[in-house]
Symmetry: C2
Subunit: 218 residues, 2 copies
DNA sequence: AATCACTTTATTGTATACAAAAATGTTGAC
DNA sequence: GTCAACATTTTTGTATACAATAAAGTGATT
């Protein structure tokens, strides 16, 4: 386990930002972080560069690096983009998917359903991810799949919130089954629509949560 | 003009890689680059990190940073992804585009045609970019537009090659007009198809060039 | 008290020094 | 000549030192 400090720290900082340990606009103080991680400023700076490159933080020259939590508008845009990219993956996958992958999707769905029944949320999230990642891969375009994966990861913390809504899990399962059916039939337009709607609903639910929080705060 | 060395150098290196000054697998020697740019290793390392983050180079821990030119397969995947993303932008834009933007698209097309007539390739490329960038922006989703822009930039050097083919420019102009017509009519499916085909053809033409080069080399 | 010029401090960006690991070269046995 | 073990050199990764710039503090003037 001999990994570069900079990489380890970048992962740690990313996790801290994603889990809400930092607020939007917080300055990432190099010296403080250096002390905190027990290293010099050099690996810290490399880690910060990585955060900036992946859009998690913003750099103002000669001013510092600031965490940049996406606001409501940007989040909705990201969900819409995710919906469209998943739709594209589904459209391509409908024509290219293998029987093995179809079986894997159904297995993931079965395990999802079992996890829902036994209230095992970790297992649910894991199998849900496997479901989506399989579709990305079956687009037959590894570049596209990589892009989809990136955004999927970025939205992970926000998707979790929305999945906590009452009845959302069961609804989501139903959508998954429609997606598999579309893929199995090879109907690319149907697969695209099913996936776009599935992810689009996530965005809708999330927006709902946001406005509720907003009005509750007032 | 007081920009960080690291940023300036990252841009310069990116340009060097894009213009083919480096071959796939070339190691980016920190010390050599430091001498070359007249700075220390520190800003060079920051610049290299940026290249790695944007996928232009690859980092092997404790080994170095190596340029990573996309191969034929990855390039085709990138073109396919670009086609799909542009199709998405077009689909959304068909419902959201403003009259001003439609006028801008037509103006860009007019200037493109004029540039074609006067053999002004620089002007052609400029207006062609304006055309596509306008569509990205009119998707009404700035996150999606940003992603489209990124990939568009990445493919720029390869798109230029394909545009040199005999008759391709005129054909491309016709496709542009179909795109505008679709957007004007608000027919989202038609706009998506027009854009997907337009960019898809670019990929096809490019693949053609590649295989020709391949067979010529043998 | 508010504001402006000026000084001081803090922080970023860059250079250099050092440590650790990989690449390279050398020697000797077979 | 080939290969392996060891020594040397190079190169990466990190720490520290220094320079440049922005932020904060101080005091005089109105």
């Amino acid at each position: 386990m001999d990994v570069r400090h900079a990489d380890r720290i970048a992962d740690a900082l990313e996790e801290l930002v994603f889990t809400g340990q930092f607020n939007d606009g917080d300055r990432l103080d190099e010296i403080r972080l250096a002390k905190q991680f027990g290293v010099s400023r050099t690996p810290i700076r490399e880690a910060l560069q990585r955060l900036v490159a992946s859009g998690i933080a913003e750099q103002l020259p000669r001013r510092g690096v600031f965490v940049r939590q996406p606001g409501p508008v940007e989040l909705m845009e990201m969900f819409e983009t995710m919906a469209e990219i998943e739709a594209v993956c589904g459209r391509l996958a409908a024509r290219r998917i293998s029987d093995e992958a179809l079986a894997e999707l159904e297995q993931a769905n079965d395990l999802c359903r079992a996890a829902m029944a036994s209230q095992d949320t970790d297992a649910y999230y894991r199998e849900n991810e496997r479901f989506h990642h399989t579709i990305y891969a079956q687009s037959g375009n590894s570049y596209l799949a990589g892009q989809a994966l990136r955004l999927h990861r970025r939205l992970k913390p926000f998707r979790r919130l929305q999945l906590r809504l009452r009845g959302r899990l069961a609804q989501s399962m139903g959508e998954h089954e429609e997606i598999v059916a579309a893929l199995r039939s090879g109907d690319d337009a149907r697969a695209a629509t099913a996936l776009r709607d599935h992810v689009g609903i996530q965005g809708e639910k999330f927006r709902h949560l946001m406005t509720e929080l907003r009005t509750a705060a007032q």
